[in-house]
């Protein structure tokens, strides 16, 4: 059984390193795609990265400071609610301001193509997040046979925030790649 986990870890690490390497290369602007004026969607992508990054860090800090035993009730539950409301409000304000300032169309056909492609990055991050949760919870609670039910909330919120982070990352990456509407 242990050998299976070791092999899974090696394969998983290889995949993760490859995926992260590709992400880093994609985020680096191509010389011919650099220095362009930003579009409203691109600005929203950067704002989304900042907001989801901060909310993600807040979530991690909450888990480290408060622990996982209070997930269903108490300060953890309140903390998660405040974080999510703050993140959502910040994003809504950013979206409204960006839309008002843009004057013209917020999304044109290239933006829509980039937005559609960003779904693949979101899906990859959601999948990686679920794999990480499965491996960690299995390893930690293997002997006990059951994991605290509160973890389900944490899995949901972390996957939600991770998905939003992935979507924003996909948008930012999309503006650094060549794209066509028939791609």
């Amino acid at each position: 059984m242990k050998l299976v986990w070791v092999m899974l870890a090696i394969v998983g690490s290889g995949l993760m390193i490859t995926a992260v390497g590709r992400l880093v290369r994609s985020v680096r602007p191509q010389p011919e795609m650099g220095g362009l004026p930003t579009t409203p969607l691109e600005r929203l992508g950067w704002i989304g990265l900042a907001i989801t990054g901060l909310v993600g860090l807040g979530l991690a800090a909450l888990v480290l400071l408060v622990g996982v035993n209070d997930l269903q009730d108490g300060p953890m539950s309140r903390g998660i609610s405040i974080l999510m409301l703050a993140g959502l409000s910040a994003w809504l304000i950013a979206w409204t301001v960006t839309k008002r300032r843009s004057g013209g169309p917020v999304l044109d056909e290239r933006d829509r193509a980039i937005l559609a492609r960003s779904l693949s990055v979101e899906s990859m991050i959601v999948l990686l997040s679920l794999v990480a949760w499965t491996v960690v919870l299995t390893e930690v609670y293997w002997d006990e046979g059951v994991a605290p039910v509160g973890y389900f909330q944490l899995i949901f919120w972390s996957t939600f925030v991770g998905g939003a982070f992935g979507r924003s990352l996909g948008i930012v990456m999309g503006y650094r790649r060549e794209i066509s509407v028939d791609a």
Partner: protein
């Protein structure tokens, strides 16, 4: 399907038609200025409808603005 690129004369045509700015052209066809810039750099292949709209701004047929170039 063989790899090909879509070349265009948008930049040249902008100057030949009263030096239309990228922003003005973008406003007329309903896209962002960044899309016009990447189109001129041939880093983006537009939809057929956007290609038609751009050609219409210059009063030309689509094939007078865009050209299919075989890379092989």
């Amino acid at each position: 399907m063989p790899r090909a690129r879509i070349a265009n004369r948008i930049r040249q045509l902008r100057f030949e038609h009263g030096e239309i700015t990228q922003q003005e052209l973008a406003d007329q066809v309903g896209c962002t200025r960044q899309t016009i810039i990447v189109l001129e750099k041939e880093r983006y292949v537009p939809s057929l409808s956007l290609a038609f709209l751009i050609a219409r701004v210059f009063g030309l047929a689509i094939e007078d603005v865009f050209e299919f170039v075989d890379d092989e």
